[in-house]
Amino acid sequence: MYTPLRIDPSKALAEISTFQRKLAAGMVNLRGFGEPEYANTPRELVYQEDKLKVWHFKGNGKPSSKVPLLIVYALVNTVWMTDLQADRSLVRNLLDQGEDVYLIDWGYPDGADRWLTLDDYINGYLDRCVDAVRKRHELDAINLLGICQGGAFSLCYTAIHPDKVKNLITMVTPVDYHTPDNMLSHWVQNLDVDLFVNTLGNIPAALMNYVYLTLKPVRLNQQKYVGLVDILDDPNELANFLRMERWIFDSPDQAGEAFRQFIKDFYQGNKLVKGTLEIGGQPVDLGMITQPVLNIFAELDHLVPPDASRALGKHVGTTDYTQLAFKGGHIGIYVSGRAREVPPTIHQWLAQRSR
């Protein structure tokens, strides 16, 4: 009979000593380590309204794609996940493929934005951003790439304004909010959202971050930082780690009214798949989406379970529906080694539909 624990005491002491040494030396490296920069792919501002900005990215050459691609990111966290790390930037890789890329930067809402509703975001801001890009290219319709909550917004937008969207791509987008493994959804079912928003006004980013951390408390609060000790002596790895920390924790507050509606209608009511959702008094029927749809989701996503995304195939009206399961997590789809697979897939899919 063997024991499963075969830890040699002397090796254990050496392990402690190594950890201590690495940490002590690493703390020196951490001190004075500047704020890591994002990829900062060259871009120009083409539209601005309130705190919102639409950026047009500049690649090395002229885009081969005739129809521009507008990226619609989530309101939670900043949009720079799409252009985080130079060698793994989604934006940069899309440019390299020949796409003409635009991005909506929602900005950081403050008290003045407390009363922005989903109607303001989707039929207001998003619609005017789409119009601005359409106008620049003199096109009736453009391509949309919606990410996470931005994907949900893009679905709503396409259902309401179908004539302005040529092709729709959704990435890690929740569609069915009541799948059994959706922890976030599970937690908010008994939440008094009215009391929550009336009390807090805008929802603080720190609170949102805390909730996300508690989805995997030990892994995200402890194990991640234990692992950090091993890369403290590697400036590149440390910069990548700190850049991600910056992105995770430098996040915007949520406009109160939009948050109220999103939790009530999407998370609690699951109205997007029930077909009972209304944005600004207009019904959102996924069956109305007849454009080609590419739905990309992450198989190990703990924020948006794969089944929550897969559901789109059952509800969308198009006959040209393509699904791509990415082997990774919600964040890994942008920054992991495999992340490079995604932009060529998007480009190829779009190219086939632009002939």
Binding site: T3, L5, I7, I16, Q189, T199, Q222, T319, D320
Partner: protein, 370 residues
Amino acid sequence: MIDQASDFLQQDFLKQYQGLAQQAWESWARQLQQPGTSANPFAGFNSANAGAAPSDDLLARSLSGMKNYFDWMQSAAAGTFGSPNPSQAFDWRQQLQQLFGGASQPFGQAFAGIDSTAAQGFGQQWQAWLQAAQQGGFGDLRGLQPMAPFGLSREQQLQQQALMAAVLEYLETSRRYQALLQQANAQAAERLQDKLAQRAEPGRQVESLKALYDLWVDSAEESYAEIALSAEFREVYGAMVNAQMRVRELQQQQTEQYCRELGIPTRSEVASLGQRLQEIRRELRVRPNAEADEHERKIAALHAELVALKKQMQTPAALSKTAVKKAIKTTPVKATAKPGKAAVKSASSRPASRKTASKAPARSIARKRK
């Protein structure tokens, strides 16, 4: 009672808040002034260390994950492996108990700590109010029935009682939440034991503290996820957050009341103005669009009339007044959707867009649903 509460607001609460801010600042300053190395990398972050940063120090919180792991490794070595006769055979289950059980085990803090970490901001506020209430003569809140309010301060007494009830409700729901976290922690230990039992044969044994730790993390997350997805957790979580919000709401109400008495604008008033402003902004956005649509309709009608008149002039005998009217009626009114114009007509053209879409033929889509 009101005076005491008021005193608290003006003195104790402010003092505590200022004290907290000062502590955080001082601890940061100390960290910045410290030399880079130390025998114990956490020496500067340990609240038990004289002159060190307090436990609620921001940096210490950021480092607590590493520190807990470091402390655990040290205690594991000193306790389990540092026995007088380490080569002696031992029961690995007992060893596991020593490593992960007991009140001092650091991993429980990973669970217990998540609430306290997040409660910064919420927790500090209600704790301060709770202390104020106790100092203000409320005594032991848990055992007391609220006094029937009366007199000039009746409304304020009612508010205080509501706040105290809300605080107690929060404490109760928080206790239930913590109990579930502890349950997850206990189940993690059992799960770890099961995982280890499957690794008894040579080649699969755990040979380092880090490997044991990683296995424990897997166990902990699995146990936590199971509980976090339970109906009980959902109920407790919702109740706790709602109770927390109720406390905060009542705090805000009381604070706003004092502000009004002092002539200071309140958040509710600012929010109310913001709401009105946003409504006006929405109306202004829609109004020009509606006007533009009306103009477009008129122009289209005039254009149709002009076309009809031109036809009438070309063949005056062939066209009667009725024919002109018919021509006007059947001429399409919809304006061409030039992208340049879309920005100003988007809001009011939504219903039309939808209608158009429903009738529009399917686009040139490749029919290859997968």
